[in-house]
């Protein structure tokens, strides 16, 4: 018999449906960091990102019947969709309250030199200025390393629409960061 660590996410979900707390613990330990990263890169706020991950996991604990076993359905893809929608909802709520998107409490590393810090904040602010869906498409494909098909499924888009979002996102970023082909050719 396989231990919990050896079981696939989908097998753990079957156990969670029977309120197996150990299976739930294993699933949370396995994936919480990954989903936190995505939430943070979407919201740029540490405590909001943690709340999103926490609420989403607790939702599947309290309502495990939300997970419907279908043929070839992957837990990861399904849960990414939950996180993505939760982030969209929070952003919508925040934009209606007109709160700043930036994380004011994010500690600055004093050891990082000024140039790197400046470049880091420039890239981060460029990412923040991207439209939400372009940012999400880049997050899923670039940072999370998902295939275009998986990202399209998570975002509920057709493949071409996703590719278009990525292209536009990259173009916008390059414009904001002043990256041009000519400049690179000059180097």
């Amino acid at each position: 018999m396989k231990s919990l660590e050896q079981q696939a996410d989908e097998e753990l979900m079957v156990l969670i449906k029977a309120y197996n707390h150990d299976a739930f613990s294993e699933l949370v330990r396995r994936h919480s960091d990954r989903f936190y990263s995505l939430s943070y890169r979407t919201l740029f706020n540490q405590s909001d990102a943690e709340d999103i991950v926490q609420e989403s996991f607790l939702k599947i604990w309290h309502k495990p019947e939300l997970w419907q076993e279908k043929r070839n359905a992957k837990f990861i893809t399904w849960f990414y969709r939950i996180i993505v929608n939760a982030c969209y909802d929070l952003n919508k709520k925040k934009s209606s309250q007109e709160l700043p998107l930036a994380d004011e409490d994010y500690p600055q590393d004093s050891e990082v030199d000024e140039v790197s810090q400046q470049r880091f904040s420039t890239v981060e602010s460029a990412l923040k200025q991207l439209p939400e869906r372009q940012r999400m498409a880049l997050n899923l494909c670039f940072y999370e390393g998902l295939s275009n098909n998986e990202a399209a499924e998570i975002m509920g888009l057709r493949l071409k629409a996703l590719q278009s979002l990525i292209m536009r996102g990259k173009t916008n970023l390059k414009a904001q960061l002043n990256i041009t082909e000519e400049r690179n050719h000059e180097k």
Binding site: R29, D33, L127, L177, K187
Partner: protein, 113 residues
């Protein structure tokens, strides 16, 4: 020579995510308690004593009423002094007699007039 895509990728890779505060996973696990009906209570000495006392406690009024009615029915059923058939026969005879007498009285009054 770097392409613009490579330069962008390099810049994007420099954006780091701050670590989640004080063990996010354990906090989530702690908050997810098993439903109360699935929690197994440990049977310690105090718990066992409580169970005994609860078993000896007076029953609820509904149970008490139902039990007393059942006992009453059983006692009534087994008591040989009370013969319901005989009682019913006697009362029926009395009713018939009184009815017969009433009819005779009515007839006498009718013919007298």
């Amino acid at each position: 020579m770097k392409s613009s895509d490579d330069e962008l990728n390099q810049l994007l890779n420099e954006v780091k995510v701050p670590p989640a505060g004080s063990n996010l996973a354990e906090r989530i696990i702690m908050q997810a308690r098993p439903p109360s009906h699935l929690q197994t209570e440990s049977v310690n000495e105090g718990g066992f004593l409580k169970q005994i006392v609860a078993a000896l406690a007076f029953p609820k009024p509904g149970y008490a009423l139902a039990c007393s009615m059942l006992i009453g029915v059983l006692v009534g059923w087994q008591n040989p002094d009370v013969n319901t058939n005989a009682v019913q026969t006697i009362s029926a005879n009395e009713e018939l007699t009184s009815l017969f007498l009433a009819e005779i009285t009515f007839a006498e009054e009718f013919f007298d007039e």
